[in-house]
């Protein structure tokens, strides 16, 4: 396994692990990749990990990196405010799809539009996980959640929300936008690294959506979770949506 996944990040706060995430949750995979990137870029001491409300907040003591828990959907404006006050700090806003694409969408769009030099990571598992699996803007067509008990009707509820594609239309050519998946953690890691490098070099807004597991609310076993995530990947295309060309120096 060590050949596939790198070892535990050095920036992990060891005493806080194992984490409080549910068994089979995708967050620890995203966070492990993020930790590896923080190590490789040697930015632990100058980073702030700002966490949205929802499952994301459970990451608050998992790293030897400054962290703060905000209110639901309010992580992006807080991150933008911090960056303005401390331009040499590296600010990572970490949130779920509900926080980013529902209650916090207005702030996410504005921050991206303004080209704030921050990095936003959105973990997309198609529902509100911590509150018990309610419908989110990302819920797939016909997917059953506790508030769409008959399945999401895409005729009346619209299409699952395409986050980075939406941001693509309104960001400048300086923005970095990508979607990865916990099914391909090393590819996801490469996106996270590019996003943070983007911020370190002060190039522009950077954003990575990570498609992720929620077996508890999906009510899936291991094989079922992978199958569900593959189904998500059929709709939410993995890849770099906007990647400015960098002239190598």
């Amino acid at each position: 396994m060590s050949e596939v996944l790198p070892s535990f990040p050095k920036c992990y706060k060891e005493k806080s692990w194992p984490s409080l995430f549910c068994p089979g949750c995708g967050h620890p995979i995203v966070l492990k990749m993020l930790g590896q990137v923080i190590d490789e870029l040697a930015i632990a001491h100058k980073s702030l990990l700002a966490l949205d409300i929802g499952c994301s907040l459970l990451a608050w003591d998992l790293f030897d990196v400054d962290t703060i828990q905000t209110h639901h959907g309010r992580t992006v404006p807080l991150a933008a405010g911090f960056k303005l006050a401390k331009p040499n700090g590296i600010i990572i806003a970490y949130m779920g799809d509900g926080g980013a694409y529902a209650i916090g969408l207005q702030s996410l769009l504005t921050s991206a539009h303004r080209d704030d030099k921050i990095t936003v990571i959105v973990v997309n598992n198609t529902l509100y996980a911590m509150t018990g699996g309610q419908y989110a803007p990302t819920t797939l067509c016909d997917e059953r959640t506790t508030t769409t008990p008959e399945g999401r009707n895409c005729q009346t509820a619209g299409i699952p929300f395409p986050g980075p594609e939406t941001l693509s239309a309104m960001t400048t050519k300086n923005a970095y936008l990508a979607r990865g998946s916990v099914l391909q953690p090393l590819v996801l890691k490469s996106y996270l690294k590019k996003a943070l490098q983007h911020q370190i070099e002060n190039r522009g807004f950077s954003f990575v959506e990570a498609l992720s597991f929620c077996p508890l609310n999906w009510k899936t076993d291991a094989a079922g979770s992978i199958k569900f995530l593959e189904k998500m990947q059929n709709y939410f295309k993995v890849g770099e949506i906007k990647c400015p060309k960098i002239s190598k120096s």
Binding site: K13, H45, K46, L48, A50, I53, L57, W60, D61, F63, D64, V65, D66, T67, I68, Q69, T70, H71, R74, P77, L78, A79, A80, G81, F82, K83, L84, A85, K86, G89, Q106, S107, L109, T110
Partner: protein, 343 residues
């Protein structure tokens, strides 16, 4: 006054100058009447070559959380709003209250509820003092004239950073839109800023969510105790004509200015009234009021709301006393009409 330089300015401009004098570096805000002049004045301060920064956000919620982000980095920041925007700001103000962050906001009260009118009111007392999902551990300053708007805005920044409770300058539409004389004194005390996060030498994991009831209760008990203790230092008020009167008027802000004027008119007509004007609505000078009240036969509450100040004061005193009131929700109260009622 000889040797003192006065300026002729609008309230909104004065508030922005005060924030600058207090050492504020960043303003986040969303335009709403009657506070737009604060934004516009600050935007002029924050030019390309300036050290000061301005962000016009997408809404008041975002402005408030921007302020919190900047404060966490150790930079003095503030916002301003009114009415419906003040409602939205209760979200970040509650976070500042929970995390003991020196959040500063200048509020221009306007008529409500809802969009109401954009002119004037004293209907945001409840919201400013107890608007969040908590215990109202805030400092609320209520200026009653332009000079005080300047002085109290500076004090608000100082005491926000000193005591670390969110601080509201509760002005109103008349004060912010009025033009008048002001002495733009330099701030004598500039309370130092401290960065909560972003210090490269130490790691801070800041929790805002508690797993156990007991854990949150312990934090709250500590904060409530500290608020009570510090209240003795924060509390501020002004009195007039206490000695000769048997009836005490209680009013704040612009209405208190009218009361002061009415007091003089009444005196000339041979009627003596006293005036108690709370400068801090939170914390309120309850101890002073309890000591003062036995001397009086009656309290007369005068306010531009249906009793928000009266309720606040009655909740803070334990003296039984007859009360009367003049209430005009969302309308100005002039000295002449106070005089007519009380003569």
């Amino acid at each position: 006054m000889f040797g003192t330089k006065f300026e002729f300015m609008m309230g909104g401009e004065i508030a922005a100058y005060a924030a600058k004098a207090a050492g504020a570096k960043i303003m986040f805000g969303y335009p709403i009447t009657p506070t737009t002049e604060i934004l516009e004045t600050w935007a002029k301060f924050a030019g390309e070559k300036s050290q000061l920064k301005f962000v016009q956000t997408e809404d008041e919620t975002s402005a408030g959380f921007g302020v919190i982000g900047a404060i966490l980095a150790g930079v003095k920041a503030f916002t301003t709003s009114a009415g419906p925007g003040h409602v939205l700001l209760q979200d970040p103000i509650s976070m500042a209250e929970a995390m003991r962050l020196p959040f500063v906001v200048i509020i221009g009260q306007r008529g409500g509820p809802s969009t109401g009118q954009v002119i004037y009111s004293q209907q945001e007392v409840n919201l400013a003092c107890f608007g969040g999902n908590g215990e109202g551990l805030r400092q609320v300053y209520a200026p009653s004239n332009l000079q005080e708007l300047y002085d109290l805005t500076i004090l608000a920044f100082q005491n926000a950073w000193r005591y670390r409770f969110p601080t509201i300058v509760l002005a109103d539409g008349y004060l912010l839109k009025a033009k008048g004389k002001v002495n733009l004194k330099k701030s004598r005390v500039n309370y130092p800023t401290i960065s909560v996060l972003g210090d490269e030498k130490k790691i801070v994991n800041l929790a805002n969510t508690f797993n156990m009831e007991e854990d949150l209760n312990a934090v709250l008990e500590k904060n409530i105790h500290e608020y009570k203790e510090k209240s003795k230092e924060i509390v501020s008020f002004e009195t007039h004509n206490l000695r000769n009167a048997k009836e005490l008027i209680i009013a704040f802000g612009s209405v208190a200015s009218a009361c002061q004027q009415a007091l003089e008119m009444l005196k000339k007509a041979g009627k003596n009234y006293a005036l108690f004007r709370p400068i801090t609505l939170r914390p309120l000078a309850s101890k002073t009021l309890n000591n003062l009240l036995p001397r009086f036969k009656k309290i007369i509450f005068i306010e531009s709301s249906a009793g928000q100040l009266e309720k606040l004061v009655k909740g803070a005193i334990d003296v039984k006393i007859e009360t009367e009131n003049i209430r005009k929700p969302a309308m100005a109260i002039m000295a002449q009409e106070i005089y007519e009622r009380l003569k």
